[in-house]
């Protein structure tokens, strides 16, 4: 850099050199190109904003006029009496299946693949299968649920029940849990493991005391995000029968309830949106607000955990 040299003519020399190097013409094409890129980005973000404005402007009046009534009431054929309580309860129960089944199985599978397995053709096959399972359309998992949980295992699950729905969702998010957990495990440097092996720890002792504590934030973030994915999933639940059912609350024992008809928040949204009664338009938007608030809270928690505990090696 020659700027700031005391000699007078040096400044103009620098200018001349700079002009030669930059080209004299204005770079119109470059500016247009950059403007187009910004436009693409702005449209993508603008869509998100428009969507939120559309949903909230349609749905918030429901909460203003009815308060929490919308959250505590069950389904009804009249739009100003219908609520999402059954859907929330159903979705929470479905999430319990996902937490109880997918998380231990998924974390266990990735511990095997990352910490135990050698690079054999079988291991590579399992890895390929998992990657492809993650890309299978959700509705195909719904068909699996219909065939296996509603059909073959119908005697145990009771057919189109919350048990079938929960198992279907658990299988749907399993590959996602495995992939995110594997990433978190891979991020732990080998030296950490070697330190444990060096003092005579077995493989499991190494994993439990050294690898898992360091990978825990990553695993937690990944599993929370896959829970969010399961929470909004609709198509497979429709196939395994969440649309028709409503909960019988009440005196029934939990087992009876689990084997009875059910519904979930996203399928309620679908059901509301198909209702010919125009009054359900606002109810649909209000139910979407409930869904989005839950999802934003869950995603926010995941992002918070990631930023709070993220560790660079």
């Amino acid at each position: 850099m020659t700027t700031g040299t005391p000699r007078v003519h040096a400044v103009s020399t620098t200018e001349i050199v700079r002009q030669r190097l930059q080209g004299r013409r204005l770079d119109v094409g470059g500016s247009v190109f950059e403007a187009l890129l910004v436009l693409a980005l702005l449209i993508s973000i603008g869509v998100l904003v428009t969507l939120l404005v559309d949903v909230f402007s349609n749905g918030l009046p429901v909460f203003f006029t009815r308060g929490t009534d919308f959250l505590t009431r069950g389904l009804s054929s009249s739009p100003d009496r219908a609520g999402v309580a059954q859907g929330i309860l159903g979705s929470v129960l479905l999430m319990l299946f996902v937490i109880v089944l997918s998380f231990p199985l998924g974390v266990g599978a990735s511990i095997y693949l990352e910490e135990y397995a050698r690079d054999t053709p079988l291991t590579r096959l399992v890895n390929t299968v998992i990657r492809n399972l993650a890309g299978v359309p959700a509705i195909v998992y719904g068909l699996l649920g219909v065939a296996v949980f509603v059909g073959t295992l119908g005697a145990i699950t009771g057919g189109r029940t919350i048990i079938s729905g929960g198992l279907t969702l658990a299988i749907l998010v399993l590959p996602i849990v495995i992939i995110t957990t594997s990433e978190a495990l891979r991020a732990v440097p080998t030296s950490i493991r070697e330190a444990a092996f060096g003092v005579g720890a077995t493989r499991w002792e190494t994993v439990r005391s050294h690898v898992l504590p360091y990978a825990a934030p990553g695993i937690l973030t990944g599993t929370i995000l896959s829970l969010a994915r399961a929470f909004g999933e609709t198509a497979p639940l429709i196939l395994v029968g969440a649309i028709a059912g409503t909960f019988r609350y009440s005196a029934d024992s939990l087992i009876d309830q689990l084997r009875g008809p059910y519904t979930a928040l996203p399928t309620i949204i679908f059901g509301f949106s198909r209702d010919p009664d125009a009054g359900f338009r606002a109810d649909t938007a209000a139910a979407i607000i409930v869904l989005l608030v839950v999802l934003l809270a869950v995603n926010g928690l995941a992002i918070f955990l990631r930023n709070r505990f993220e560790r660079r090696w």
Binding site: S44, L48, N132, G241, F270
Partner: protein, 315 residues
């Protein structure tokens, strides 16, 4: 974790260092448990294939195969014109790609080549939020916002609020963040030395982005587009809500009209008042369509995977 006690004669053997039998047993049990969890994925894949193929075969062996070539998809009236819903699928996914390709790739190039690190850190979570919006929400958005505003201006004299164009744009919004994120990863993975070489020759940023970085990342970008297409083909809720999935559909090429995709046909069968028990073959036809969808998305995903691996081995 007791250290092996030194034997009385003062000499350690290998046996002393192997740890207690209990420790070894626990190790073996856990290893088996983890391995079975991993093998479960193979069981799941087999279960998917077996259940799809079984019922699909049931359908194919009983249906009059000539019916599959007819136009129109009305399973409750035993009309299984598969071309109708395959065409509908490609129209909707195609519109989605037309919307998502410029948006996704534009956003990816901007984030990777132009944006400051700080802007990048702000924008990426926003795109992640967009990616996390459930498709049932986008279906509502397509039906109540996209259809009456955007589609109404694009399609002159359009009267039906349910149409494939709205569903297609909705699908485009859904896959934009996916394409952006995969393509951005590919662009970002291009080594800086290539960019510096280009700048060193006096190239501008646009030339560097388009002539150097973009071609170097082309495998990943192709993979992003294929993955987007695969997601679009498999997307269900947006189409079921916005494209007019009511029972059946005529063969339809005009995106301004209602139509049906493979996925929407499946939900329509499942949500009918008679719960798939209508015509005798309606239930197995569900699995035939599912198998076709599964085969299509699997092929696309495998191709995309091969492209992604090419990027990874290069740099």
């Amino acid at each position: 974790m007791a250290a092996p006690s030194v034997p009385s004669n003062g000499r350690l053997t290998i046996g002393d260092l192997r740890g207690s039998a209990g420790r070894r047993r626990r190790e073996a049990i856990l290893r088996t448990a983890f391995a079975s969890a991993a093998m479960l994925s193979i069981v799941i894949s087999l279960a998917i294939i077996v259940s799809l193929v079984g019922e699909a075969w049931n359908f194919l062996s009983r249906v009059d195969l000539g019916l599959l070539l007819e136009r129109g998809w009305f399973p409750r009236r035993d009309l299984y014109g598969i071309s109708t819903i395959v065409t509908g699928t490609f129209i909707v996914a195609g519109i989605g790609m037309i919307v998502a390709t410029p948006l996704g790739l534009g956003a990816a190039i901007y984030l990777s080549e132009y944006a400051s690190p700080r802007l990048r850190r702000t924008i990426k979570p926003i795109l992640e939020i967009l990616a996390g919006i459930p498709s049932v929400v986008l279906g509502y958005f397509a039906l109540t916002f996209l259809s009456p505003t955007i589609v109404d201006t694009v399609c002159p004299g359009q009267t039906n609020i349910f149409n494939m164009a709205a569903a297609g744009i909705g699908v485009g919004i859904l896959i934009t963040p996916l394409i952006a994120s995969v393509a951005e990863d590919a662009l970002y993975a291009v080594p800086n030395s290539l960019r510096e070489a280009s700048y060193g020759l006096g190239a501008r940023r646009r030339t560097t982005s388009l002539r150097i970085v973009f071609p170097a990342a082309i495998s990943g970008i192709v993979a992003a587009l294929i993955l987007g297409m695969s997601r679009g083909i498999g997307e269900t809720m947006i189409v079921a809500m916005a494209a007019g999935a009511s029972g059946g559909s005529l063969f339809q090429l005009n995106p301004c009209e209602p139509g049906q995709t493979m996925t929407a046909a499946m939900t329509a069968l499942a949500t009918g008042s008679d719960q798939v028990r209508g015509a005798a073959l309606a239930f197995p036809s569900l699995f035939f369509v599912g198998l076709l969808l599964f085969a299509m998305t699997l092929t696309l995903n495998l191709v995309a995977d091969a492209f992604v691996r090419r990027v990874r081995t290069r740099y």
